[in-house]
């Protein structure tokens, strides 16, 4: 048994939405596990600190400007990554946004923004990554960041949930279509973690009471995503394909 099975030395990883929250964290985790990392975000200037930090600690990193809703921007980002490090063989499709509100009151512009980013964006980036992995005749791994809201419901989060359910189906279909090419496609479904997206609610009395009532009784900590990510990204997960990995402190086993 290879003790280095969770190691990512020699791999080239690209993370979308890397300028904050999960994406920034994932980029650090992958670099620490040995991968050369490409951090993508709309605003490249917000990535330099992260890249410098990784470089300073002995890793290799590159910042790329990348709007996941724009096919040309996605292609340019992958081209830059490939020129610097070679073919990206590990993609973490993380960029996502939310526009809370009941569905019947959701503005069309909000719908388009969330669907374009969370669903179309995930597809554009995954498809670009897959085409390049296929062209290079090498396998790879794609990890899509879905959500427990792709599997369950929560009042006022309809648009977000719909896109995350879409990401789950996209994950399964891409896994099906690429399995014979040695490309694995899986999804992590995080439960409630404290991120910049939801800070305010979880700090409120209502938010605190809600979290106390979940089986785990607390929010997830960022570093509790490290293991799930490394499992799906590395050879430790060599037969895991098309799978959904919830990381939710048992939230999904709660009763209605």
């Amino acid at each position: 048994m290879d003790p280095k099975r969770f190691d990512l030395t020699g791999r080239v990883a690209l993370v979308t939405g890397a300028s904050s929250g999960f994406g920034e964290h994932f980029t650090r985790v992958l670099a620490a596990a040995g991968a050369r990392v490409v951090a993508g975000a709309r605003r490249e200037d917000r990535l330099h600190k992260l890249v410098d930090e990784i470089t300073a600690s002995g890793g290799e990193a590159l910042a790329v400007a990348m709007d996941v809703t724009d096919a040309a921007s996605v292609a340019a980002a992958f081209a830059a990554a490939e020129a610097k490090f070679g073919t990206v063989d590990l993609l973490v499709n993380n960029a996502g946004v939310a526009a809370p509100g009941t569905l019947h009151k959701t503005a069309e512009a909000d719908w388009d923004w969330v669907v374009d980013t969370n669903l179309k964006g995930v597809w554009l980036v995954a498809a670009e990554a897959a085409r390049r992995m296929l062209a290079a005749r090498r396998g790879g791994a794609i990890v899509n960041i879905a959500s427990v809201l792709g599997m369950a419901t929560s009042r006022g989060h309809g648009v977000y949930s719909a896109t995350k359910a879409g990401v789950i189906q996209l994950t399964k279909h891409m896994a099906l279509e690429l399995a014979g090419k040695n490309i694995r496609v899986n999804a992590i479904c995080p439960g409630y973690f404290k991120t910049e997206m939801n800070d305010e609610y979880f700090d409120s009395a209502a938010g605190q009471a809600y979290i106390a009532a979940t089986p785990g009784g607390r929010l997830g900590r960022m570093e509790e995503m490290d293991g799930p990510l490394l499992l799906l990204a590395s050879d430790a997960g060599s037969f895991i394909n098309g799978a959904l990995l919830p990381v939710d402190g048992g939230h999904l086993v709660m009763s209605i």
Partner: protein, 254 residues
């Protein structure tokens, strides 16, 4: 960092059904990661072989006979773990029975009973006994090795599939009721894996063809490919993961 995240130094782990196949691969990996592993199965000599090899590699293990279809053997095993170690941190329920292979309607009563005694009653009381020990130590992790057959019935494996569906519910139920006690309960659902246990699925050509046609990755798994996922679930890497059923099936259930 990755090394520390999956480190099991100082943990006591009981692996049921560990004399060969998937259980053996799990026992070896958990031992390599620093756990003291208690290798159990019905027959002691099979366990001893695995233990000898783990020790020869410089890791820590002991052998213990335990037929999880027999209640008194479960009780005796946990009494011994308590007496020897005073605690238990990890349980991997992997000792399953699949005595019947054929049309579900023709399942005979002894095969039906044996399947339920081992796969449901055995897993249940192994979990309950383990949790009583884990509580004293402030927490723990259980992995139930189920099967993708618990989601989609496997060909000619009716009662086995039914019992594996029960393991999915058992996993969620224990996870829910024990989350507040810092005990995590998850399931691994392997797809087709090359083991002696799954022998009939390889030797029966029609069944083998049917299963292989449904695996997008176009191959079966080796036992070692299950061990990484179990290591994730029992280690601190999964500290916020409970109640999940993780398929490791090459895409079979997509």
């Amino acid at each position: 960092m990755a090394t520390k995240l999956f480190d099991l130094g100082g943990r006591i782990a009981l692996i049921a059904g560990a004399s060969r196949g998937i259980g053996e691969a799990i026992a070896r990996l958990l031992a390599e990661q620093g756990a003291h592993v208690i290798v159990t199965s019905r027959k002691l000599d099979g366990c001893q072989r695995v233990v000898d090899e783990i020790r020869a590699a410089g890791h820590s293990a002991e052998a213990m006979a335990c037929h999880i279809g027999e209640m008194e053997q479960i009780e005796a095993a946990f009494a011994r773990v308590r007496a020897t170690h005073g605690r238990l941190d990890i349980l991997v329920n992997n000792a399953a029975a699949n005595p019947y292979f054929g049309h579900v309607v023709d399942t005979d009563l002894p095969a039906f009973q044996k399947t339920l005694d081992v796969n449901i009653r055995g897993y249940f009381y192994m979990s309950a006994s383990a949790i009583k020990l884990m509580r004293d130590g402030g927490g723990g992790a259980i992995v139930n090795v189920g099967s993708v057959n618990g989601i989609t019935p496997g060909p000619l494996q009716g009662i086995y599939s039914i019992s594996k569906a029960a393991i999915i519910s058992m996993t969620k139920t224990f996870a829910k009721e024990c989350a507040g006690e810092n005990i995590r309960v998850n399931a691994l659902l392997p797809g087709l894996t090359r083991t002696k246990f799954a022998g009939a699925l390889f030797t029966n050509e029609d069944v083998h063809r049917e299963i292989m046609a449904g695996i997008p990755m176009g191959r079966h798994a080796e036992p070692g490919e299950m061990a990484g996922a179990v290591l994730y679930l029992v280690s601190d890497a999964a500290s916020y993961t409970t109640g999940i059923c993780l398929t490791v099936d090459g895409g079979l259930t997509i």
